[in-house]
């Protein structure tokens, strides 16, 4: 199970990093969200995985680690605030600059020639 979990985290990270390296704002926001999932899962798993052991005192014999859960809980909420901030910054950037490129301007010599661009 741990292997599968780590695999999921790895795939999420890969997808997130790839998307963050794109040149337009919206994919970058999506990438940040994906990376956010990966990081939250990663942090959560630092309390080790366990099943049927919610940290409710008296409900079971062994409890999962409550500390990473508390940290991740606030991280999820803050993550939302951050996503909202970035995406609205992207909107504002597009409104003020007229394009949605991450640098605020479309580079003159993009790595693609005009023919390749659709």
């Amino acid at each position: 199970m741990e292997m599968l979990f780590a695999l999921c985290v790895g795939v999420l990270t890969t997808c997130g990093v790839f998307m963050i390296l794109r040149s337009r704002t919206f994919p970058v926001v999506v990438g940040l969200t994906l990376l956010g999932y990966a990081v939250n899962l990663f942090l959560f798993s630092s309390g080790r995985l366990s099943i049927n052991s919610a940290a409710i005192i008296g409900s079971t014999d062994a409890y999962g680690d409550p500390l990473p859960q508390a940290l991740v809980l606030t991280a999820i909420v803050i993550g939302f605030a951050m996503t909202a901030f970035v995406v609205i910054l992207a909107m504002r950037g597009r409104g003020d600059l007229g394009n949605d490129h991450v640098d605020g301007r479309i580079p003159d010599h993009s790595s693609l020639s005009d023919k390749e661009r659709n």
Binding site: L21, S23, I56
Partner: protein
Amino acid sequence: MSLFWIPLLPALGVLAPLFSAKFGRTNCAFATAFAPALALLLMLFKAPAVFRGETLIATVEWVPALGMQLSFRLDGLAFLFALLILGIGLLIILYARYYLSSKDSMGKFYAYLMLFMTAMLGIVLSNNLIQLWMFWEMTSISSFLLISFWHNNTDGRKGARMALAVTGAGGLALLAGLILIGKIVGSYDLSIVLQSGDLIRGHSLYPVALVLVLLGAFTKSAQFPFHFWLPHAMAAPTPVSAYLHSATMVKAGIFLMARFYPALAGTELWVIIVTLTGLATLLLGAYTALFKHDLKGLLAYSTISHLGLITLLLGMGTELAAIAAIFHIINHATFKASLFMAAGIIDHETGTRDMRRLNGLWKFMPHTATLAMVAAASMAGVPLLNGFLSKEMFFAETLLQHTLGSLSWMIPVLATLAAVFSVAYSLRFIHDVFFNGEPVDLPKTPHEPPRYMKVPIEILVGLCLLVGLFPAFIVGGLLHSASLAVLGGEVPYYSLSIWHGFNLALVMSIVAMFLGVVIYHNRRKLFKFQSQFPETDAKLVFESVIQCIVRGSVRIQQFFENGSLQRYLFLLFVMVALFAAKPLLQLVTTTGDREQLPLNGVALVLAVILMFAAIATVIWHRQRYISLLTLSVVGLVVSVAFAYFSAPDLALTQLSVEVVTVILLMLALFFLPQQTPKESSPARVARDLGIAALIGGIFATLNYAIMTRSGVSISDFFIANSKPGGGGTNAVNVILVDFRGFDTFGEILVLGIAALGIFKLINRMKVSMPSGDLKGRNWTKDSHPMILRTVSQSLLPLALLVSAYIFLRGHNMPGGGFIAGLITAVAIILQYIAHGVDWIKPRLRINYQWAIAIGVLISAITGVGSWMFDKPFLTSWFDYFHLPWIGEFELASAIAFDLGVYITVVAATLLILANLGKLTTTHRPTVEEKR
């Protein structure tokens, strides 16, 4: 402790001229002179102890653990230098009183001068390496201010900048060298360092430390090839040149070599580097000085040459040579300071320093001429003057050394050659200026300067004579105690007398005198010869080197900082991969010994869905709506995973955040392009995929390695104390509102700030609203469908009830302020979607900004409330009560804190989403104009 007052008095004295400047120039000079005079007096009281060979030390500990202390020492060497600094400093103050014109700001000048004096005293009196360095840098900065005192003068600014750049760079090298020495010895205490000479010289890092320290000394003392800054510093007012280039600034480098003589000198490396540098500087300076038509230029190169002479003596490594070096430090300071002052007077009274125009001044200022001639004769090494004595000692030492093996005979020959030029330029100074016909086209008619302007020169020239006639009586004690400090032990016998008999050194002197006169006589031929060489302006060379460096760094900067976020992020990820991969490469076994959970089918299916959804998000990322849908699938599976792995709180949070995130991104996408153009070349895609996969692989490996190992965590404490200490059975919630309540408080603050920032960004945002989708279809006319309206309206009370329930049970069961807040926010957002802003606005009159503030305040007040019971911030309180019919119930202060969290979360979420939604309507937020 009175030792502290010696540097402290001039430091306090920096203020004196600033406050006294308005009381007239003479009063200002007196006020300025008071502090150094007092310091000098204080030091003279300590003279008997120093002359007995004692080392006085005063220390105040600052950070003992780091070896940081404020520590001063007064030994013979420090005494000698402090005497020169304070004594000549006082004369300079007097001289500058008459030199500066009424247009110059005297208060500022004296303040800089006192700052510089403090820094110099700090260097020579420091007993701590780092402290010494700090004062060293202070001299660079204060000398910059002094040299550029006439800041509307281009040459002054450029010269000052060059001096600062060269000596500042040397200062950095010195710092590195001193730190190395500190590491080798294990202490920055100078007393310990000076006793650890053998340890330092035997250490493998000795050559590095030596070269670094010498770089500091050579740049400061204008040794070849760093000598070029000194002539350009002549753009300074003459009192500054007289002070900086006779007794202080340039002598700081010499002082450094003398100070570290017991610790660093005596090796072959020292002898080779220091001797050859000194010799080259001596020759170059003496030769160039002859060809300078500017009076101060001649003196500048002569200073370089004499500094080279002292360096050469220190480099020879014999004890007598070191004594000769110290003796020459004294002599050079006296005659060079008086010569500079005389040059200043000539400049002041004639309006030029060009020796081709200055002729025959004897008739106009015989008094000044006599003084200058005596000083110049001392510079040339004429018998019965102090310059002669140290030059004789120098010649004698060059004859005794074996530095260059069988080529050692070259040193006395070259020394004599330098002395020949020295005689020639001294003669030129005398003959060209005071005799040699009539003055040519002078701006002013020269006359004698004010009476007191000559007093400093008279004192110094008097000293030249007295030392020349009665050397042992005047400077015997001073020289002995300074030599004791430099040699660190026994001082060999040396004789301070005028007549040593007819020996080879005297022959060298006589030859130098004779040839010097011959050369001066034939100077025109030499000038002609010299004029064939193109003259290089060091300023231009320096500027072009600086420009080169700037261009180079701009190029490097442009490579890394080209304004492309993708470039930065790529470099960042590469660095992450490098730093994370290194420890992982050293990890031999990835799998730890913790027992792993068995795999089951449901988990496998969910994981496959998650991975497919994530990959689909990437593949279809250009179709933004599709990628948003797949993204939400990922989020859902993540919340299921939290639920599955015993984290119900997280699952609830993730689920509700997922809803608001998707609504948010949907809204945002309405205003953004719905497709992403294809921009990346295949190579770029491959590169990005490569680094992404590498990072993903590293993350997964790290994650797996952590999960399969057991570790000790502080969580046992939270589990054990959740119920008895926090009064709740849901440990996660108790951590949030109680144990780590302060963190949570910070987090709701961040949430509130983010929401307010977003509100600000949304204000007056220019947006383009598409009238239809990509295929040109118009949006539906029925934007608020009937069914949705009805269902959402009936759902609202239910949803609020659920959130109230989740909030109240949060302390004991999964739930709490964060989750309840999100559920409430989602319920209200649903109303916005179903009914539109027009419908909501009259029904829900909440100012979300105020609500955020109220939420944060409630949490803060709950925290502060515990102060009333003398408990730390956010200490929680709880108790159990029994009410008839209802039964036992619990009341905890944490619930008030959680209420604050709840309100903040609701308000922040709604502030973001409701305002974003309003952009599509006529209710879009705009700033109320405040005028």
